[in-house]
Subunit: 423 residues, 2 copies
């Protein structure tokens, strides 16, 4: 690579709100999105909530001349809703479906049926390896009583681990998507601390768009105004995050968001705002400025965020176990009821009633059995993330005990690849 | 690294057959396994089918002085059954749970409830990064009519992709486990072709153990003799596979298996045979001998195995769609039946019968609904692997069109990391 090497990347991200039969003006919005993407000719367009594969196929045909490469990430029952369009050839792709993603009996929320995931694309651009990730985490339906918090923290950790383990040879890492996390939320801090990713909105010096970079704003005519009541100005939950390895310097030259309208001032493309970033990757001499994380391990942001996440997962595991125990008791009572019904039926007393109650009792028992199994699996899923977090915390503390010099070596797996870039 | 650098690794692998209440002499076998592992002091012991976490905790306590590091991979409802004990500090660990793993209604087979997975450990040994993987794929219950074949092929592909994407910075890659695949089975060939892993049994010049390296033999008193009827001498389904990156040379110095008894000739430790390998990693000058895969892409083993896998997944997807369609028709009929029952109950004709049939009909409808959703998700899961395989096949053909010189560059993601080592 030449010392004056420079790579410019234009990135587009949008949660498309493409729910068949439910999202307003879907067809028209998808058409206008296609027109806009064709006109702008980004390097990469990463989309979420493209729930209908027909919408993806329509866009694929429409965008073929400008974006010859595309991929739709299939998962779950409905799908992950994730897809990408690329001006450049895609070398490789794969995906990781999150272990936990809400509850199947919360049908009105629907997340469980989607199979929320993170998709990975590997691109080779000007001799550099670019790992681009696109994701969509579980929605937050109530900030006051968020029953999905432990799941979202576990998803953020799985996302961070997936990026961490699959990007060790990447020169540039890019993550776009709807994290359903505010910038200071636990999951967001955990993700950024463990991967070393930088937030385009916080890093850029040239931002134009909605106030505070909000990606859901009350000016958007498709927004559910009641959901935004606690945040009358808007919320920022969609992100462009990036980093580069040592020897490379990455910066966000410009970041634009739509502001409740489409980019030309018409009706919006979605209920979310679009993000448009211009990133610049340049060669830089290796530097060894200590990262803020390399201070006292106990006081470091990584350690404190790990502890917070562990506490949240603890609560989630306790809750899962409570539900499993409760279901266990109901199963016990249900079995007793069945025995009683059999006895009543055999004796001939209230025989008809006993026979009538037999089938619903069996059905109820099977249903509660499924609830029991689900929460057992939930507890296992949470304890998997818990064990990984605990291990990382242990190593961070070991690093502290050995003094700051040993930290980079001890946390090599993370620090070497993820933190050595300097902004 | 010095030119005369050499690293010796002693590896132990065993499917422990540790099903609580079902596996014979489990407690005694686990105790003797612990004694043996303590006595032999391997670098790494990788175990499968440790279904009881109590067994893992017992071994952890027992092995603590010899193997200070250990991890149990939790997943699914029952668990993955995977665990590891290491003489060396574990830098990092994570896991990937396979998207498809049999059918929940095949309760007697039980695989679906386990959450079969692949576990990854990252170790730093003598300045080298070792990625050790342990896995257990879906069992094969009938070779003649294997309803799980597509799932196992998809699992083998996900395993290969997980190794491929997470080992790009590893110097040495090791995979141990019960693949439930014979050496020439599609899944085994796919895994080896895509990752470039070498089979210790085929590579070593010093093998002692069961005939043909079989890991399930009729001499083992715990074996189900009926299951071995089509293979009276035994089968080989447990493996030690490895590779090293360019500049390093890895070889299997010795490979031992038990032969239907425990290592001291007593009753066996499991119904599977244990594998004990001594691997040697040495420095070697970079070589550029063309890999056999780099011939004509159409004739290369990678291309042909990709095509075979695609055909198998096609069959699996068609089957999943047939089941989903069938379930869809049953749902339609069920809904009609419910309407009919409502009409009968309203009219007062055979009212009691109608009311009696109402609940089982609703229950049946819900059950068939679950079957429908399950097979929709199965089709999505298979099509995800299909798309990845199709992409790799496309790139392999592109490489062919551009001539042999361009192949390494085009298939860079795979070839550079996975195939440049020379044995």
């Amino acid at each position: 690579m030449k010392p004056n090497f420079s790579l410019r990347l234009r990135i587009f991200n949008l949660n498309c709100w493409g729910i068949p039969y439910l999202s307003k003006n879907r067809g028209d919005r998808v058409k206008r999105l296609g027109d806009f993407l064709n006109m702008e000719s980004f390097d990469l367009a990463l989309l979420e909530e493209v729930w209908s594969e027909q919408d993806f196929q329509y866009l694929r045909q429409k965008l073929l001349p400008t974006y010859p490469a595309a991929h739709y990430f299939r998962s779950g029952i409905i799908g992950s809703g994730l897809c990408v369009f690329s001006k450049h050839s895609i070398q490789e792709f794969t995906q990781h479906v999150y272990t936990l993603n809400g509850y199947p009996y919360m049908i009105h929320h629907g997340d469980w049926f989607c199979g929320k995931a993170v998709g990975l694309l590997v691109l080779h651009l000007s001799g550099l390896v670019l790992n681009a990730y696109v994701t969509h985490l579980h929605a937050e339906y109530s900030r006051q009583k968020d029953i999905y918090l432990a799941h979202r923290v576990a998803q953020a950790w799985e996302l961070a681990q997936f990026i961490h383990h699959t990007s060790k040879k990447a020169d540039v890492v890019l993550l776009c998507g709807d994290l359903n996390l505010h910038p200071k939320d636990l999951g967001c801090r955990l993700l950024k601390e463990w991967t070393g990713l930088h937030d385009a909105y916080l890093e850029t010096r040239d931002f134009k768009g909605s106030e505070e970079g909000y990606t859901m704003v009350p000016e958007n005519c498709y927004i559910n105004q009641r959901e935004l009541e606690p945040f009358p100005l808007g919320i920022r939950i969609d992100y462009v995050l990036y980093k580069a390895v040592s020897g490379l310097y990455i910066s966000c030259k410009t970041l634009r968001t739509t502001t409740g309208h489409d980019p030309h001032g018409g009706t919006p493309l979605s209920d979310h705002e679009a993000l448009m970033a211009t990133l610049c990757v340049r060669h830089s001499p290796p530097q060894h400025t200590p990262s803020p994380t390399h201070g006292s391990a106990e006081r470091s942001p990584l350690v404190s965020v790990l502890k917070e996440a562990l506490a949240e997962l603890d609560l989630g595991m306790a809750q899962a176990c409570r539900w499993a125990t409760f279901a266990g008791y109901v199963i016990g009572l249900g079995l007793l009821l069945l025995v009683l019904l059999c006895a009543l039926a055999a004796k001939g007393e209230v025989r008809e009633v006993a026979i009538l109650l037999w089938t619903p009792s069996v059905g109820l028992l099977l249903g509660v059995g499924a609830v029991y199994l689900f929460h057992m699996q939930e507890a296992k899923g949470l304890s998997r993330s818990w064990a990984e977090l605990q291990h990382v915390l242990g190593r961070a503390r070991e690093a502290q005990d050995l003094g700051p010099e040993s930290q980079p070596a001890l946390l090599l797996g993370q620090q070497e690849g993820d933190r050595s870039e300097e902004q």
